[in-house]
């Protein structure tokens, strides 16, 4: 192991630091310092941050050059994320498009699909969503019922997707549907690119426990899509889904660990305004130290994951543990952040101008989803038990 920057990595780090000190970045970072506990406003701010990064030349670091990227190893993304944590930068809004949909297109898309969509995803001009889960197909994704029927001119989609993040903001959706109703479970599934403005594509907000609606119902009612909307071949759906999860591991892991470090950093800053005696009396000194230590450890675990992906091309056993640990830790940080706010945080209405914007309440409630979406804690443990530890069920 060698944790020091190579000369080229060091130059890259310096350049990015310089950009972060520039006017464009600073203006957005100051706005992000009081990020609202409001889904729509957050999306807007994070979208502008995405575009700023793109215009500055900082998006697509690890994307292949033929798709508009730089082709750097994952360590460059790691450096970028480290520096963004230092300045408490927000994540980008279009993470579904960049981290989940784009890698699928690079692996499975046609040349035409890639040329049409990838540049716009990279720039932030195209927002994509991922229509996989359904009401009866959550953890058991193979139980999807959305039907894709072949027509002369293309396909017709019928079904209802649930938990579709950012569907109202998206222009395109990657949808999993059953093309062969006679095939069982993982078989007979295919993926399609769906124009979110097409007739028969209806999006309804799904109000979450935090009051916001980043999740949505995606209703497909005789939605017709062209022949070239299929991704890969008919029947490739399950492999695409699995790829989508695996391909996203490294970058997604870095992003969410970085966001967690920012959350903790903000929490620590709030505590610094308090007296020593009160911090000690409430046991907060030790609690913060324990959390900080775990978050640091998670960062290093994520780096090991990144290193393995860079070296082997695919995630190793650590990947399964990272999501599980991150979900638990993010909830711990969010819980403490809400707790230290005391009664005032629980009773004071959000006031955007005074920066009491309910962010702690939102973050806490939002964190409860982390142990569920992207594979529940129970699913992660089961994967670890069976595939990593080899325990027979």
């Amino acid at each position: 192991m060698n944790l020091d920057d190579s000369p080229s990595e060091a130059r890259f780090r310096q350049e990015f630091r310089g950009w972060l000190q520039g006017d464009t970045a600073q203006a957005l970072l100051q706005e992000a310092a009081h990020e609202p506990g409001d889904v729509e406003r957050r999306f807007d701010l994070r979208s502008r941050w995405h575009r700023a990064l793109y215009n500055g030349g900082w998006m697509g670091l690890t994307w292949p050059k033929e798709h508009g990227g730089y082709g750097y190893p994952l360590s460059y993304q790691l450096i970028l994320n480290e520096e963004m944590v230092t300045v408490e930068a927000p994540p980008i809004a279009a993470w579904v498009a960049v981290e989940l949909v784009a890698p699928v297109l690079m692996r499975w898309g046609t040349v035409e699909q890639q040329a049409k969509l990838l540049p716009r995803i990279l720039s932030g001009d195209l927002i994509a969503c991922q229509g996989f889960s359904e009401q009866e197909a959550g953890s058991d994704l193979a139980a999807v019922r959305t039907r894709a029927s072949r027509l002369e001119e293309g396909w017709q989609l019928d079904g209802t997707k649930m938990w579709t993040s950012w569907a109202r903001q998206a222009q395109i959706g990657l949808v999993l549907a059953r093309t062969d109703p006679t095939a069982k479970r993982h078989h007979g599934l295919s993926c399609f690119l769906v124009d979110m403005t097409a007739p028969g594509v209806i999006v309804e907000p799904l109000r979450m426990l935090h009051g916001g609606a980043e999740e949505n119902w995606l209703l497909l009612r005789e939605a017709k899509i062209p022949k070239d909307a299929i991704v890969g071949s008919e029947g490739d759906g399950w492999r695409i889904v699995m790829d989508s999860l695996n391909l996203a591991r490294g970058v997604s892991s870095l992003s969410r660990t970085s966001a967690l470090e920012v959350s903790l950093s903000r929490l620590v800053k709030r505590l610094r305004d308090r007296s020593l005696s009160s911090l000690r009396a409430e046991g907060l000194v030790q609690r913060v130290a324990a959390l900080h230590t775990r978050v640091q450890a998670l960062r290093w675990l994520t780096y090991r994951l990144v290193g393995e992906i860079d070296q082997e091309g695919v995630p190793g056993p650590i990947a399964s543990t990272e999501k599980l640990l991150w979900a638990q830790l993010s909830a711990d940080v969010a819980r403490l952040a809400l707790e230290i706010g005391g009664f005032q945080t629980l009773t004071e209405p959000p006031d955007w101008d005074r920066h009491t914007n309910g962010a702690e309440r939102f973050e806490y409630l939002r964190s409860l989803a982390n142990a569920i979406e992207g594979g529940t804690d129970e699913i992660q443990r089961e994967i670890i038990a069976s595939r990593v530890l080899g325990l027979e069920g």
């Binding site: 192991m1 060698n2 944790l3 020091d4 920057d5 190579s6 990595e9 360590s75 790691l78 620590v268 505590l271 610094r272 007296s275 020593l276 911090l279 907060l284 000194v285 030790q286 609690r287 913060v288 130290a289 324990a290 900080h292 230590t293 775990r294 640091q296 450890a297 998670l298 290093w300 675990l301 780096y303 090991r304 990144v306 290193g307 393995e308 860079d310 070296q311 650590i318 399964s320 543990t321 599980l324 640990l325 129970e378 992660q380 443990r381 089961e382 670890i384 038990a385 069976s386 990593v388 530890l389 080899g390 325990l391 027979e392 069920g393």
Partner: protein, 326 residues
Amino acid sequence: MQLVLNPDQIALRDRCHEAPTTVDEIGNAVEGVLLLNVALRCEGAGKSGTERPFSPEAASALWRTLWEPRIGNMTELGLDVDGSGLHISNDGEDITVTGRSELLQAVDSQETVLLSCEGSGYHQVFEVSLSEPRSSTVVRPAFDPSMCLTETTFSGTPALLRATGDQASQWVSTYRTMRLFLGAAEMLGLAEYCLNATLVYVSDRRQFGGKLAGFQTVRHSCAQAFSELQLARSLVYASVARDSSEGAKDREAAWRAHILVSSIALDVCETAIHLHGGHGLVWESGLHSALRRVWLLRAQEGGPRAAADEVGERLLSLRSEGKERV
């Protein structure tokens, strides 16, 4: 950056089952590499089913390996860093020590110890023989039977001055930091041993017509323990892989490793005993041996709570350069 172990390091870890009690392969490398090698060594021993990464004798040898380049020709093992009960007299010709010291050390370890005394802001390190007529020693077995608490009363016992001032401070600081790192590495290895023993057990043991490994709660407990160990291992690797020339920064890294591994190792060892059911409670299971060792290792330097106080107060800017904010 290279974020994964290189082939040599992997080989070092995997070779450990061949020579479970020697430290020869660790060598006399620079501190950062040395500590990483120790961490790998402990991990490998745990994976291979070795109950202890180091026998007490091997642990003594390791300390000599670590300590000799820094102090020179040392055979001592323990360092009573508190020294609060000691009084040093120096009449210009003879140096003697009076008072009482406690030292946690391996049973049958060396008889000469270092004592650190700090008075009026001035640090000194002395070498004292425990077998001197003017000292009396009571040995009490510790929670881990391979360790003991040596309580020595010195009555004008001759002492040899080994270091003063900044050098003495640096010796003591380095020792304390490395002790934490090594403790974290060894706790990691002990927890690995416990988890691996558990995986074997639950895969063999049958109850209610099926293997224990088939019960979701058992599988998930193992998975959670595995995940926690990955977290601990990541921090230990990152902490010890750095060049240790950075002084105070190392101390913080050592504290963090101590905080995290103390917690995780204890949980994993306890979980392992629990998942073994009644078999885990039996002396011969060996699991309690690992657990006892973890308890002693985590109690170093005031334990994880003291380390958490240090880290937390620095994080919250309550303490900077040794000064406290009110």
